[in-house]
Each structure stands twice: as structure tokens, then as C-alpha cells.
Symmetry: C2
Subunit: 369 residues, 2 copies
DNA sequence: CCACGCGGGTAAAATGTTTTACCACTCCTA
DNA sequence: TAGGAGTGGTAAAACATTTTACCCGCGTGG
């Protein structure tokens, strides 16, 4: 006895139809079933408290209905709004399509053993979303130009041709520059991100600098100091900038955390952020609005980046057809799906998530003179 | 052509043994295979680049080899060291045992639709680890006293009998109290956590208060102010305390974030934390050591909490036997596994993770008088 | 009257493992 | 010399689905 759990066969027997019929009802895409039978099957399912097994479901077409979210093994990887928001976005979009998400931390060993490949090969997941990828992650070359279901979240590369979804960093740089110019700022400092490793960081800085230059404000090399996106580094960078150029009227930091670090630095030298020196950040993290003074910044919708990344990889996965058994029926693999925009270098940039300016009290007109 | 992917049968054929043999080699627990055959099979696997399918593997014994990590839908759930550390710990322990982890966010809809049950029923996961559970999560009653594989990470309940792994909050309260007493403090304030909803918070406060009382220091009710574990709330709570009792010599906050909030409050009224007023926190988050002054605190090893939670639920899952088909062979279900300590109320407390005192510069002897 | 398509369904093959019997053989022991 | 206990292995049943190919009866245009 102890009837273990209702399976599809039990349902079929219960309502006197074939097992196939039940399956067809389950995957509602097929309209060959009459409404009467459909109802009968549905009732039987209800009666038996039937839940289809995901495991068994995945087997025939080798689909796990699961995506992997890969994060680098930073000291405290998840301890960051950035990751948090992106993951929430991914989660949401995945859930909408009935997908689950698997969490994977890319530690050294993980990479060495190529576990990311195992993940795909053993049918654990249907695709991988990599958050926090930088140019240090050489193993990405394995996916270069390939058709494997990997997508880079919020970064992209010149050296490897990979799918990706990124915020519109060029637009962000432009917005910041134009805002500062419109407010009469000319002596401007910039705290950049880790540009050597992160292309989006370069995009932001380049666009910022170019936009200023296009309107006659040329940033000297020593007006740009790099940081690694952390509060402390923003403080140090700002110290550096202010000691080099005590008469700066505005500072644009590549993220909010560093901008808030700059607050500290300015205060330490008796200056009031937003009054004596305009400070702008980028990202619009929750703390930005709560800071004193509330921070003027460029809003990046990280939640949306996550959600869009997810939707995009799903589209690409599902376009491979329900079962690629090698008979080449239909589009056989190579990216027939999705509006793939091409970058200037011909690479695939799947999507640019728009950004917007959020003006708060940390910015104002440049003082005369 | 287009041989899709090697399966176990291919391997068997390749080296002329039966499919069973290959399976036995794969699950190395069985020593019935001679070394020679073993090698032959291993070579064949290598040659065919064989990877067993997780999906298929799970089917026969209804095991997904996956655990779910459930987090409440806080505004920015993952954006917290707390969650980050715990998840890392879980991940690590899971990986050690060949398990994967699925991320689930318990939104309203999620609960209403009882997706957490679906998760177990459709064989998506073998167990659920719930981080951030509070007494608001009424649906937990569904697991009350049951044998379902759910474990609460770092909280526990009086009203429901559930598995859990928690930090030793009573010990933490005691450590803090004793340290303050040993340093001569008598006028002490306490910023508690959300005690109405979180039992560990109550434990900490109770133990702190009781220990003080046992050595003659009785904390008046108005020397305790509650906060929700956030920096701002620590600041407000400290404002409140200081305005009520301007002559406090020490403050113990239920977590580091609130302790750091207290710093702000003290500074605002011209007091120097660590010099004029001793401040103690709890948790030992990374920022605690970097704060100015470095914060004296009680270290809670959240990573270990996560890891231990994971190990514990795995042990419990695997003790159910390789396949509980109802024949009741061996321990049939009901918690034969693991050292289950019992709480004072007879409930199961699976494990208490030890804590330790970390003395830094935010604390010192009470001033005379 | 016949071929034809179609609505509503079904039987059977495929998916890739684990596990449970069971078998054949050798060696030892009473 | 029969009986038992390994040793090294195999065949076949289970696991729970999806998918493909096919079937049957019925109306319908030619």
C-alpha cells in the first residue's frame, strides 16, 4: 500500500483516458483535446493531488527548466545591492517562464574543474547567467563565438564574442557630463571604476570625457582617478583629486558608493558636498536617496538588467527548438532568435538598458569665477 | 550521425560490459567490481567524454540532489552580509556533498500558491533551507511537527516544532554582559532587535538582561529600546536612550549595524564612541573591524551557520534511506538521524553555533563615579 | 461511392539512470 | 562430496514523462 505518489498513469486510469491524453492536457499547447475530456482530466488530477515530476519531465527533451546564476567568488559576493537587485530581476523573469534558478559560485576550483561545463553537460541547467564578469575571467574564452547558452550580465568584451545585456553606460556618461556642463561646471574631477578590467567602466569614463570635450571642457589625465567601486576607495580617490586640484567644483564618481566616499573626504577637509562641491554618483542605490545630502546620480535599473538578461537567454534557449536531436528541423541553433544588436565591432550586444538622471541635493550650479 | 551525447549504454557497449557494471563504477560505493574492469570502464568514459545526466540519475530514487534556499522577499534581500555569508556557507557544504542549490524568493504569491510545497512534491529539491524566517511566516505551521525536509536557518520558534540551526544567542548575551560588568559598567543601555518577531533576538536580550541582573545590575525597562537591525534605527534608538539617560557609560546593540548607528548618534551629541561611551555590537560583520573606532563585538560565524544548516539537513535527508518506498526497512523516517538537542520546551534545536567575544577599541573601563 | 482531411484520441518508443534479483564460478569446510 | 560463502558480474524492472506515428469514424467534395 502506502501509494507513494500519484503519477501520470494513475491520473489516466482514474479518468479512463490514455496517458498521452493526460500529458497533452498538461502541456496545454496542444488543442487536440476536447473541452469535456480536458475537464475530466483536470478533475482527476485534482482528486489525486497530482503534481508532475520535474525530473521526469526534463528527461525526454533534456531540459532542466533551470538556469544557473554564476557569481564570482568575491569575499562577500552577495553582500551587495548590485548582485541583489540583479538576482531579484533574474528570479522574477525566470519564475514568469516557469524556470528555476540555481546558484553557483565560481571559485578557483570551480573554474579549474570546468564545472560550468558540467552544469550544461549533465543537464542540470539550460543556460548560464554570469554576473560580475571581468576581463580576468579568461575561461570565458571557451564560450567565445560559440553557441553555448551563456550570457554575461552587465558587462561585455572586446576580445570575446559573447551574449550580454548591459546598462547604457555611454548614455550615463553623457547625461552626467551634460548636466555638469549645463550647470556651468568646468573644473571637474572624475572617479572612475576599474577600467582595466571592466569594459562598462571604460565606456562610462570615455563617454563622460568625450562629451565634456565636445563642449570645450578638456579633462586632464590627472583629473581622473580610479577606484574599485568601494566606499573607501571613493574617499581616497577624492582625497587625491582635491589635493591635486583644490579648486574643483564638481566630481563625478562611477558609482554611488564611491560618491558617498567622496562625501567623507570633502567633509574631512571642511567642504560641504552639494554646496561647496557638486558630487554626482551612478547607479542610484537605495542609500543614495537617504544620504545627506541626497545624492544626484544616474539611475541604472539593475533589476531590469537581471530580468532582461533572463528573458533574453530564455528566448535564445527556447528558439533552439523543443528538442535538438540533430535532425536539423527548423532553425538549427545559430542564433536565429532575438533582436541581436551589434556593437561597433560587430559583436553581439543583446540589449542596452536605458538610464536616467536623478537630480537631488548633492549638485548645483558652479560658483562664478 | 550527430551522436547526440554518450549515455551509460554507450559506455557499456564501448568496453564490453553491462550497463549495470558501468552504473556500479559510477557510484563507487560498490566494491564488487574488479580493479581491471573498473579501469576499463573509466577509460571508456574518458574516451566518450561521458557525463551522467543528473536528471536521469535523480529519477529512480526521486532525488534531485538539490536543496532550495528560501529567502523572504525583503526589499533587497541579498543586499546584506548576513544573507551573503549564510548562503556562501550553505553553498560550500552543499558542493562538498555534490548537491546544488536552488534560489527561491518567498513573495506573497509564492506563499499563497504554496510553491514551497510544489518544490518538494515535484522533486525539484530534496529539502528547503529557510533564511530570515520570523514569526510572521505563519505558513510554517504547515511543517509543524512534520517530517518534511525543512530547516530554519538562524532562528527557531516556540509555537512550531521545526528543525533549525542557530547561533548561540544566549551565550552572546552573556558574553557581552560579563564583559561590561568586568569593566565596571553599571549604567548600561541596550538596543534590542525585533524581539516581537524573532526569537533569537529575545534570547539575546533576555540573556543579556539576566546576566546583568544575576550580578546586581538591573536594567530598567526604559534602558532597552528596540530596532529592526538597520543602521538608522540604531541611531534613533541611541538618541532615545541618551536623551532618557544622559549618563549611560555603555551601550550594547543587538547587531553591528545598529551599533554603528549608535556611533553617529553619539558623535552628533559630541560624545566619542569608545572613549566617552562604550559601544558593543553583535555579529562581527566586516565593517565592524574597519569602523572608527573598530567595534568591540560578539562574533557570530554566519558562514558556519549556513554550512552547518546544510550539513544537517543533508544528514537528515540521507538518513531517510536511499529510497523510502514504504517498506520501512531500517530507520523509517522520523528523525533517527543527527544529534538533536532539545530546547527547554522539548523542541528540536539541531545545533548551536558557538560565538566569541572580539574586543576592539570601542569599549573600555567605565569611568569612576 | 471514393478519396481525403480532420477531430479526438491512443500505443509505443525514447529519455538515462538506479536497483533488485539472480547467475555462474571458485574456494573452503565439515 | 554436498553445502555454503564469497566474487564478479548481468538482465530486467522501475522511475515519470514527452513525442511520434498511427488509428478510427465522420462528414464532404468530386
Amino acid at each position: 500500500m502506502a501509494k507513494t505518489r500519484a503519477n501520470i498513469r494513475d491520473v489516466a486510469r482514474e479518468c479512463g483516458v490514455s496517458l498521452t491524453t493526460v500529458s497533452l492536457v498538461l502541456n496545454k499547447n496542444d488543442h487536440r483535446i476536447s473541452e469535456a475530456t480536458r475537464q475530466r482530466v483536470l478533475d482527476a488530477m485534482e482528486r489525486l493531488a497530482y503534481t508532475p515530476s520535474r525530473l521526469a519531465r526534463g528527461l525526454p527533451n533534456r531540459r532542466a527548466n533551470t538556469l544557473a546564476v554564476l557569481v564570482p567568488a568575491l569575499q562577500h559576493a552577495f553582500a551587495d545591492v548590485y548582485f541583489g537587485e540583479i538576482i531579484s530581476g533574474i528570479y522574477e523573469a525566470a519564475a514568469d517562464s516557469g524556470y528555476r534558478i540555481l546558484l553557483e559560485v565560481a571559485r578557483r576550483e570551480y573554474i579549474r574543474r570546468k564545472e560550468y561545463m558540467t552544469l550544461l553537460e549533465d543537464c542540470s541547467v539550460d543556460g548560464i547567467l554570469f554576473i560580475g564578469a571581468t576581463e580576468e575571467h579568461k575561461w570565458l574564452s571557451e564560450f567565445d563565438g560559440s553557441d553555448l547558452p551563456l550570457l554575461i550580465v552587465n558587462n561585455h568584451f572586446e576580445q570575446w564574442d559573447l551574449d550580454c545585456v548591459v546598462c547604457d553606460y555611454p548614455a550615463a556618461g553623457k547625461l552626467a557630463a551634460e548636466y555638469l556642463l549645463d550647470n556651468g561646471h568646468k573644473r571637474i574631477g572624475h572617479i572612475s571604476g576599474p577600467s582595466d578590467m571592466v569594459r562598462t567602466s571604460r565606456e562610462l569614463t570615455d563617454s563622460f570625457v568625450d562629451t565634456l570635450a565636445s563642449r570645450g571642457v578638456h579633462l586632464a589625465a590627472d583629473m581622473i582617478v580610479g577606484g574599485q567601486y568601494l566606499v573607501e576607495m571613493g574617499k581616497l580617490a577624492c582625497d587625491e583629486l582635491m589635493s591635486r586640484h583644490p579648486k574643483l567644483t564638481a566630481i563625478f564618481a562611477a558609482n554611488d558608493k564611491m560618491a558617498l566616499g567622496a562625501y567623507q573626504s570633502l567633509r574631512a577637509r571642511g567642504l560641504q558636498p552639494g554646496k561647496d562641491v557638486t558630487v554626482m554618483g551612478c547607479d542610484d542605490i537605495p542609500t543614495a536617496a537617504l544620504a545627506d545630502p541626497p545624492l544626484t546620480t544616474v539611475r541604472m535599473n539593475f533589476f531590469e538588467v537581471g530580468a532582461e538578461s533572463c528573458r533574453h537567454i530564455l528566448k535564445s534557449i527556447e528558439s533552439r527548438g523543443p528538442k535538438t536531436n540533430g535532425n536539423g528541423h527548423g532553425t538549427n541553433g545559430v542564433h536565429a532568435a532575438a533582436e541581436v544588436l551589434s556593437g561597433p565591432d560587430g559583436h553581439r550586444i543583446s540589449q542596452r538598458i536605458p538610464v536616467s538622471l536623478v537630480v537631488r541635493q548633492s549638485s548645483g550650479k558652479a560658483p562664478k569665477g
